[in-house]
Structure formats: C-alpha cells, structure tokens
Amino acid sequence: MAMKRDGLITLTPRGLYCGQGGFYIDPWKPVDKAIVTHAHSDHAYMDSRSYLVASEGERLARIRLGDDAKISGLEYGKTVSLNGVKVSLHPAGHILGSAQVRIEHKGETWVVSGDYKLTPDPTCTSFEIVKCHNFITEATFGLPIYRWPPPSQVFSDIDLWWQRNIELGKASVIFAYSLGKAQRILSGVDPQLGPIFTHGAVERLTQAYRESGVAIPKTTYAGEVNGKAAFAGSLIVAPPSAQGSNWLRRFGPQSTAFASGWMIVRGARRQRAIDRGFVLSDHADWPELLSAIHTAEAENVYVTHGFSEEVVRYLNDTGGNAYPLKTRFVGDDADMSDEGSDVPTGK
C-alpha cells in the first residue's frame, strides 16, 4: 500500500483513520468517532459512539443511523478542531448533505471526497473545489465510456416515455435508489403529466428531503391507494430491489425503467430486463473525475472503489502520482440496498 504509515490518514481494518485527530471517515465497523460523508449504506454504518455530518444531511443521517445515534451537524465551510486537527466539510454534490472532508495538520492537507458529482443537481448543494496535498477520490465510473448526457435531455426523455405510457394507458415504473436518485428524478420530471406514486422507502426519504427544505412535487405513497385503475398513466418511483417483486403487480399494465449511469451500456440495460434505461448518475463521469482530480491540484491521489486500477494507471501515465486504495465502499452497485428493511410487504 502506497499510503504512508505515518501519514495523516491511514487505511485500517475499520476504515480510513486519522490517528492524530482520533477519528474515522466513513468507517465500516463501529468506532468512537466517525465523520460520515453521506448517508448511503456503504458509507454510513450504525453503532459508532458519535458521528459528525454536514448539517444539510443531518435528517438523512438520522434515518440511516437510528434515533439513538449521537449525531452532530457541521455547516459546510466551517472548521472544527479535533485533537489539533482542523476539520471542515465541503459540498460533494452527490446527494443531499454529501460532503468532502478536508483535514489539515501541520500544513499537510487531505480531502476525502466520498462520492461526488460535478453536474448541478437541484436537490443538493453543488460540488466545491477544495485544493489539497492528498486527494482521495472514488472511481465508480472511471472509464472514458462513461460520459453523461445533460440531465435536461434525460428528464425530457423520461417525460416522453411517461407521456407515451399515458397514451397507452400504462403505469410508468421507474427504478432508482431511494436515497438521492429518486428525489432527483422527482424534482426533474414534469409533475403536470400525471400523479406520482412512491414506494415506502422512497416516500420516507423524500419526506426527509422536503423537511430539509428541498422542493419536490407532490407524491403519494402507493400503499395508500387501492385498485389498478388509479395507477394507469401515473409515474411510480421505486427502489431497484422492487424489480420483479409481487409489489409491482398492483400497478397493472406497466412499462419499467431504470435510472443509473450503468444504463449507458446497452448490455447492462438488457441484463436488467427493463423496458427503458435512463442515463442518470449521482457519480462523476470520466471527464468530471479528471476535472475534479486536476483542480484539486493534489500531489498524491488515492483512488478507491470502481475502476480504481484503471484511473490510477491513467493518472500515472499522464504525469500524476496516483495510488489504489482498497476500501469497502461500493459506489454505485446496482444491487446496493438503500432502503434497509423498509420494503413494504406486498398486499
């Protein structure tokens, strides 16, 4: 491992650790003090003694970490000192409340960026460039084939699909992660087209977004509605785990879609056996990754999860100092469960 043993951040069996400050960042086992970049399940684990998160994401962290968790919020850009290590959180643009963690000690600076994207997203604060000596980046979509179309085009494609299904008397079921992607879709589609229903997991998190001040069109929890007729022509937002489940039967004739960056590859779409794939990701695409890495102006770049080996090789070939970092983050695993146990049983 290229990470220095006496560096400010080291990789331990519990996760990324700052020994000087006495805290972990996104640990995957319980620890005393955890700084959490965002509330996705591979970054926010339960049962640590205390947590520090961006204030914008406090409500989401509460849902993920439980009512008893000791959670403190920190405004973006504000600095706290932990054992003499300066810590500040900066918007990562990934989902509501997602943060890059900047730490500084004796002139050495690190940024742990968590998951991030540069494309503007109305449901969260936009990514901020933070310069540092050591930058830890994800590489979920670290191949040049991953280049996202403009979201405006994707949303107009989703609206067209929805419109066509309305004409055919079908429900439009779109699968998207219940945390982040679902709310981004809700805020991007044209709510004038028809009623919007949600899966229970999506509804709860959407409510948390609204309570955090994000404007999202009216949605109705699908479980409150009976009879297939009510769903014809509607849009239903559900987590990927609902695909193929009995829960979908209540909606009658339907067209299915999946919203994910993976959908840019035809094979990935066919493999999921859905009618449509929409290319919409909350992660940086290849140009965004390179841009973020470039503008951080870091001497050393550590690359975790996804196509980390490829990104490392490319950076080193083009004059950088990059190292792979084996964490347990999964980035955008199509089967990642964000919904926890909150999958309503089919009626």
Binding site: L143, P144, I145, R147, W262, I264, V265, R266, G267, A268, R269, R270, Q271, A273, D275, R276, G277, F307, E310, R313, Y314, D317, D335
Partner: protein, 540 residues
C-alpha cells in the same frame, strides 16, 4: 439512415415481441423500398462481410478520442461490443445524418471494401463526424460486419405479413436462399401475385424444426402413429436439383454445394424438380464419425483429395419436399417418405451410397422405443426424432408434429478456475467460465461454458470472481478453486489439442453445486471411463 437507426434503437430497447413487431411495421410502412430491402436484409440476419476491420476502426477512434490503447481495451471489455465502445468514446455530436440507408450502404459502405486504409479512414472518420451516437453505433456495426439485432426472421416476417396481408409462410419461403436487397426484390416479397413462386431455381424451402420432448412421450398417443428415426448430429441440409443444377443449403441458409462435391455429384442423378431434406454426416466404414471430423470440412471452400479421403460424407435423407417440380410439403409424411424411398431406390446403388434414406426404427410401443434409445450413444446419435405419420412438412420450429427425443446429457462435477466477462447482455459480468477436473492432485481445464446459470447465480459467481482473483491475463482471470458446478455435455472424444486429453461437445452448466467442495469434483479418469463406456470412433 435516421429511420433505420430509430428502428434499431427501438428494437434494442424492448424485449416485448409485440413492440418489436410494431416498430418493424412502422418502419416498413414508412421506408422507401430501396431502404426497406436493405433493412430486411440486415434484420433477417444477413450481413455483408466485414468491410473495414474493427482493429482499424478502433485505431482511428482512439486517435480521435486521444486515449491509450489499453484504456480502449478496458472499455471494450466492460462494454462487450467493439462498435458500441467506439460510439461511446468518440467526441459528442448531436448532428443527424439524413443519408438514406441504401445510399449509405451502396455508395458509402460497400465501395470501401478493399480500398487503402487511408481512403477508408477518410470515409469512416468523415461519416462519424456527421453522425450522432446512435447512428455511429449502427454504422460501426454495419461496416465491421457485426450487425445483429434481437429479432428472429419469424418476427420480421410477421411484421411484413401484416403489412402485405399475406400468409407468413409464403413470405418466409420467398425470403429463402440467395437474393439481392433491391427495391424489386422487396416488391416481390410483398407481392400479392402468388402464381410465380418458382422463378428462383436455387431457392430452398424453410426447414421444419422440432422442439425437445421431456420424459417418455407416451402422451403422444399410439406409437404406431409416429415414425422414429435416429437423431443424427451433422449439418442439416436441403439438397435441390432443378433444371440440371444442384444446390446444397445449410439450415443457416448458406450455400455449401462446393464443400460437399460427393453429395453434389450424387444429387446430379436425381430428376429435375427434386428437393430433399437431410443431414450431412461424416461417414466411414459403415459408421458415423465424430462431429469434430465434419468441422474439418465445414471451414474450407477448396476441398482437397486428402480431406475427401479422410472425411467422406453422406446425406441421410429425411424427407422429400418437392417432386416433379411440385411443392409436396402439404402431403402427409407417410406419403412423402414412400416417395423418398422409391426415388432413392431408383438411383444406381453403390457399396456405400452417398444418398441414403434414414432408417425408420420400429418398436412395439413407447417403452420398447425407450429401450432402443439407450443405444444412442453407441451408435453416435443424439436420440430419436419422432415424426407424426400424417403430418405435413411445416415452416420453422413447430410444436406437435415433430419432436426431438434426445438422451440425457452426460454430467460431471467440475471446478471453476478461469473467468472472463461476457459479451452483449452480460458484458459487465464474469459469465464465461473455464472448468477443471482432477488429474491426480492437479486441476486440469476440460471445458468452457457460458450458459446455464440464473441471473441471480451469475451475480453471486461474478462477485466471487472479483473477490477471489489470483491472476489476470488480459481479459481472463484465474480464480481461487472453490466453486463446483455440474457440467452437462453431449459427447466426449479424445483430443491431442486439449490439455485434459479430451474434448466435449456442447458443454453447459447444469447446476451450481454450492453444496459441494472441490474435493468432490470428478477426475479425468472418471471421464475417460465414460468415454470407454461406449464406442469411440475417434480412436478407430
């Protein structure tokens, strides 16, 4: 090519049959005949040979995209499709190329074959600069000879038959054999005039295909209503003798006359206006040779005297489709078979006749026939074909009148040792596996298999491969020997080309044996015992 690209994208996006047919109906009712002819050509699975090699397309694409070669390869492995990878890597472009499909193919694509790489490069990069992502995808597939779309010819024909209001079987027949994708051809395909069907002397009939039957077929009624024939494993073919000429077609509608001169010469003795359905088999000393022997002849156009001597072939005749230039497919099988027998009897008999009528196997009842079926492996056949004696010769794969009744496959338990990403639908998952069996305390690879697991199982194995990779050789990963699978296959023969010393036919994964440990896997010795358990002409 806008309309055609839209069609391609629609077909690619849906897996619902009705939507596919609807998309094709829309296309064929709106496209010009000149374009529709080419579209039909491509959709029915025909394609011009490669015009520009993918290697060159890749070279030009990475030059434009300014990417290193290795990053292209990684991308290609993830996408699983070269044409698509290139389309994804080229700089964004929102232009739409309005060149009609037939102009694109006839004036821009086909003339490029054999041109210098410089000329080709200018043409291809020029075309890319005028096209958007989807058009580039289709263009790359057409020019590299890799165009494929998920529709069967049957579906294309269904769409056309709805437009023309003609029976699908008639259109299927009109589309058989060799034809040029011209507006005139497309017109004739949909023509309401059904009187002039005999204009193309080389045109074969659509093959009648069968489904597999499970268990003992005693629900088919009286055994005596059915003819049982051995199910041979060769090249299903149609031999045509019309107006003094012989044509041999494979089931894939390739004209293979030149590859089998002994059959061509024997068929010259048939009367004009004869069409026989049969199977080409490698045959020597009164017995069939392994299929791999026949493969040695399939690949080559020029058949040497040496290979003719080493791998002689015969035609096991199954059925008679045309006699005295009359289509007799609607007669019952019993009558067609009698006519076939008397036709072949009239030919000069040699000691080892090239054309022979396949044996009808007689049995008292189904259980008697089931006993006879046990001899299949010793005879080098796959089991029985069951044909209802009063059935017509149908078009395409059909349930009810013909059944395949194959013997159960051979199986062994083997260990996963290498994995590779799949292509197409499975491009981002490790789905192509190599399996090994024990040779002493060493695991030797013995079969590759790509199919047989559920999507959920594939994900489990994919995750295992990612977490248990030992070494990476290009796209192939060696993995920790831990997972055991039950592998089924149809036949075994000795092979000097394989490390294990054996080659198996049609290997596939039967089951994921997560209840077994690698110590439970079979040994090469056990497989060789199976091999010695029945006749092995490869050793003869």
């Amino acid at each position: 090519m806008r309309l055609f690209t839209d069609l391609y994208i629609e077909l690619d996006q849906t897996n619902k049959t009705n939507e596919k047919v609807e998309a094709m109906r829309y296309y064929f009712s709106h496209a010009e005949a000149a374009d529709a002819a080419w579209a039909f050509y491509f959709l029915s699975g025909r394609k011009p040979r490669q015009i520009v090699p993918t290697k060159l397309l890749r070279e030009w694409a990475i030059e434009i995209a300014q990417l290193p070669e290795w990053l292209y390869s990684e991308s290609r492995d993830t996408v699983g499709d070269g044409s698509e990878t290139i389309a994804l890597l080229l700089p964004n472009n929102s232009l739409v190329d309005e060149t009609p499909l037939h102009t694109l193919v006839e004036d821009q694509l086909l003339p490029l074959r054999g041109e210098s790489p410089e000329v080709q490069k200018a043409a291809v990069t020029g075309a890319w600069s005028r096209m958007n992502y989807s058009q580039r995808l289709v263009y790359n597939k057409l020019i590299s000879g890799s165009f494929r779309v998920g529709v069967s010819q049957q579906l294309v024909v269904r769409a056309l038959s709805q437009i023309a209001e003609l029976p699908p079987d008639l259109i299927t027949h009109r589309a058989m054999g060799d034809w040029e994708p011209t507006p005139a051809f497309f017109g004739s395909l949909l023509s309401a005039d059904t009187g002039s069907e005999d204009s193309a002397i080389a045109r074969p009939y659509p093959f009648h295909l069968a489904h597999q039957i499970d268990g003992v077929p005693d629900n088919l009624g009286e055994q005596s209503d059915w003819q049982a024939e051995w199910k041979w494993d060769g090249i299903r073919s149609q031999v045509i003798k019309r107006k003094g000429e012989v044509f041999i077609w494979s089931r894939g509608e390739d004209l293979i006359t030149e590859r089998f001169p002994e059959i061509e010469s024997a068929a010259e003795d048939l009367p004009d206006g004869t069409v026989i359905d049969g199977e080409i088999l490698p045959w020597r000393d009164g017995a069939v040779l392994p299929f791999t022997e026949l493969q040695r002849r399939i690949g080559r156009k020029n058949v040497s005297a040496k290979i003719l001597k080493e791998v002689p072939v015969i035609l096991q005749c199954y059925d008679l489709l045309e006699m005295d230039a009359k289509d007799i497919r609607s007669l019952d099988f019993r009558s067609r078979r009698e006519m076939l027998e008397s036709l072949i009897e009239k030919l000069d008999r040699q000691e080892e006749p090239v054309l022979r009528v396949t044996e009808a196997v007689h049995a008292a009842d189904w259980s008697d026939l089931a006993l006879l079926r046990e001899k299949s492996r010793n005879l080098g056949v796959e089991g029985f074909m069951l044909k209802r004696r009063d059935s017509p010769y149908r078009t395409g794969r059909h349930r009810g009148d013909w059944w395949k009744w194959k013997v159960d496959p051979l199986t062994v338990d083997a260990v996963l040792i290498y994995a590779q990403k799949g292509t197409g639908k499975r491009s981002n998952l490790f789905t192509d596996y190599t399996f090994a069996v024990w040779n002493g305390d060493e695991l030797v690879p013995f079969a590759k298999a790509y199919s047989g697991l559920t999507d959920a199982e594939i994900r489990v194995v994919d995750k295992f491969v990612r977490n248990n990779t030992i070494e990476t050789f290009g796209p192939v990963r060696s993995v920790k020997p831990e997972l055991v699978f039950e592998i089924a296959f149809e036949a075994i023969q000795r092979s000097t080309r394989h490390k294990s010393g054996i080659a198996v036919r049609f290997p596939r994964i039967l089951r994921f044996r997560d209840d077994k440990k690698i110590g439970d896997a079979d040994s090469i010795g056990a497989i060789i015992e199976m091999l010695e358990g029945f006749r092995d002409t490869a050793d003869a």
